[in-house]
C-alpha cells in the first residue's frame, strides 16, 4: 500500500469516549452560564466568515472593537434586566478532594428503588437554608463553600460510577445527594445524573417521570436537550 493511500484510509477517526463528551459539555454549560460578557475573540477570529479577509486592517479593528463595546454594554443591560433568578451555580468537572467515607459496595438492584444512605453526621454541614432555585429571597444565605464542595464531591463520585458502567451506584449516590442537599446548588446536575442512571438501568418509565419533573423545575436548562438525546438514543 502506498504511504499516502494508508494516510487517506485513516479517515477522521472513531467516536470520542462518551464520558469525556459529557464532561466537556457540562463544563461548557458551566462556562457559558457564568459568562456575562461577549466571548473574547480568540486566534480563530478570522475564520468565521468567508466575507472577511484573513488579515484585519485598522478600520476593521476599530469597527470590531466598537461593536464589541456596544454589544457588551447592551448585553450587560439585557442581562441585568433579564437575569435568571438566584445565584445558580453549575457544576464543573474538576473534582476536588474532600474527605468522605469510603464508598460502600453496590450491587445492581434494578427493581428496587434506591435507598439513600445515611451520611455520617460530622460530614454534614449544619442546617443551612440553601437558596431554592427560582427564589429571589435575598435574605436566604448562600450555602457555605464547604457545603458546595461536599455537593460536588458526591456528584463526582456519582459521575465516576456512571463512567465505570455502574448506574446503580451512580443512582444511589445521586439520591444520597438529594437526601443530604434537598435544595442544593447542584440539584440540576444531580437530577440529570439520576435520570441518566435510571435509563442505564432500564427503568425508562421512572426516568421519563423524573425527566418531566426536571423540565418543569428547570425549564431553561441546557441539560434538557442532552437528556432528550439520552431518551432518543438508549
Amino acid at each position: 500500500m502506498k504511504p499516502l493511500d494508508a494516510l487517506r484510509a485513516l479517515g477522521t477517526g472513531g467516536e470520542a469516549p462518551a464520558p469525556a463528551k459529557e464532561r466537556v459539555y457540562d463544563a461548557l454549560l458551566a462556562s457559558l452560564e457564568g459568562a456575562t460578557a461577549p466571548m473574547a475573540r480568540g486566534p480563530a477570529a478570522n475564520f468565521g466568515s468567508s466575507a472577511t479577509p484573513p488579515t484585519l486592517n485598522a478600520k476593521l479593528w476599530a469597527l470590531g472593537t466598537a461593536i464589541w463595546v456596544v454589544g457588551g454594554i447592551t448585553g450587560a443591560f439585557l442581562y441585568g434586566a433579564l437575569r435568571p433568578p438566584a445565584a445558580r451555580l453549575v457544576y464543573v468537572e474538576r473534582p476536588q478532594a474532600v474527605n468522605l467515607p469510603p464508598m460502600p459496595s453496590f450491587t445492581a438492584q434494578p427493581s428496587a428503588p434506591p435507598q439513600p444512605s445515611v451520611q455520617p453526621p460530622h460530614l454534614l454541614p449544619p442546617a443551612t437554608p440553601s437558596r431554592a432555585l427560582g427564589s429571589n429571597d435575598a435574605s436566604a444565605r448562600l450555602p457555605s463553600a464547604s457545603q458546595l464542595a461536599q455537593e460536588r464531591a458526591l456528584l463526582d463520585l456519582a459521575r465516576r460510577a456512571a463512567s465505570r458502567g455502574e448506574p446503580a451506584a451512580a443512582l444511589t449516590l445521586a439520591e444520597q445527594h438529594g437526601a443530604s442537599f434537598p435544595r442544593g446548588q447542584l440539584s440540576e446536575e444531580r437530577e440529570a445524573l439520576a435520570i441518566r442512571a435510571l435509563l442505564a438501568l432500564g427503568q425508562r418509565d421512572r426516568a421519563r417521570a423524573r425527566a418531566d419533573a426536571f423540565r418543569s423545575r428547570f425549564p431553561s436548562s441546557f441539560l434538557g436537550s442532552m437528556l432528550e438525546s439520552a431518551f432518543a438514543n438508549p
Binding site: 477522521t12 466537556v24 473574547a40 480563530a44 475564520f47 468567508s50 488579515t55
Partner: protein, 181 residues
C-alpha cells in the same frame, strides 16, 4: 442559475447543541492528531467549543463546517504546543519489531499500515500536518483549506508539498526501524 455561492440561499445555521453532538468526536480526533496529549483533550475540546459557540453566528453556512472547526482546533493545538511544558519531542516509542514476512491475514497488514500512517503523521510539522489532514484525509479542496486556515493559497500548496515529503520520509524511517523493506 446562481453564479456565486452568495446568490444561493444559505442553509439554515445549525444550533450549537447540534454542532457539538455531531462534531465532538471529529474535533477530539483532530486535536489528537495535532499532538494534544490524551490527558489534555477535554480541556482543549472545551476551549475549542467555547470559541465555536462564540462565533457560530458568524459562520458562513455555504461552507462545509469541518474545515471551519478544524481551524479552531488547529489554533488551540498550536497554542498548546507552544507552551514549553507541552513541547514534547516526538519521542515516538519504536514499535515492537514486527515479523517482516507477509502476513497471511490481509486485514493485519492493513492495520499495520494504518498504525504506521498515524505514527508518521505525528512526525510532520504542525502547520503542514494541518494541510495534509484537511486535504489527504478529509478531502477538502485547497481554496477551502487556505481560507479556513487563513493562509494564502500558494502557502497552502507549499505546505501540502512539504507535508507529503515529510510524511513519506517518516514512513520510510519507521519501516526501516521495523525492519521492513
Amino acid at each position: 442559475m446562481p453564479s456565486r455561492r452568495e446568490d444561493v440561499p444559505a442553509p439554515a445555521r445549525p444550533a450549537f447543541r447540534d454542532v457539538f453532538e455531531a462534531q465532538f468526536s471529529y474535533v477530539w480526533n483532530v486535536l489528537k492528531r495535532l499532538g494534544v496529549a490524551e490527558r489534555d483533550l477535554e480541556d482543549l475540546g472545551q476551549q475549542v467549543f467555547l470559541q465555536v459557540h462564540a462565533q457560530l453566528s458568524t459562520f458562513d453556512t455555504h461552507r462545509p463546517i469541518r474545515p471551519w472547526l478544524f481551524s479552531f482546533a488547529y489554533h488551540a493545538a498550536s497554542n498548546y504546543r507552544a507552551l514549553a511544558r507541552h513541547r514534547v519531542e516526538l519521542s515516538i516509542v519504536a514499535p515492537e519489531p514486527i515479523d517482516s514476512k507477509p502476513a497471511a491475514d490481509e486485514q493485519m497488514i492493513t492495520r499495520q499500515e494504518l498504525e504506521l500512517a498515524e505514527l508518521a503523521l505525528g512526525r510532520v510539522a504542525l502547520d503542514r500536518r494541518a494541510v495534509l489532514l484537511l486535504h489527504e484525509v478529509e478531502g477538502h479542496g485547497m481554496p477551502e483549506i487556505a481560507e479556513s486556515l487563513g493562509i494564502p493559497l500558494n502557502t497552502a500548496y507549499s505546505r501540502l508539498r512539504l507535508a507529503r515529503q515529510e510524511y513519506e520520509q517518516a514512513v520510510r524511517r519507521l519501516r526501516a526501524q521495523r525492519g521492513e523493506t
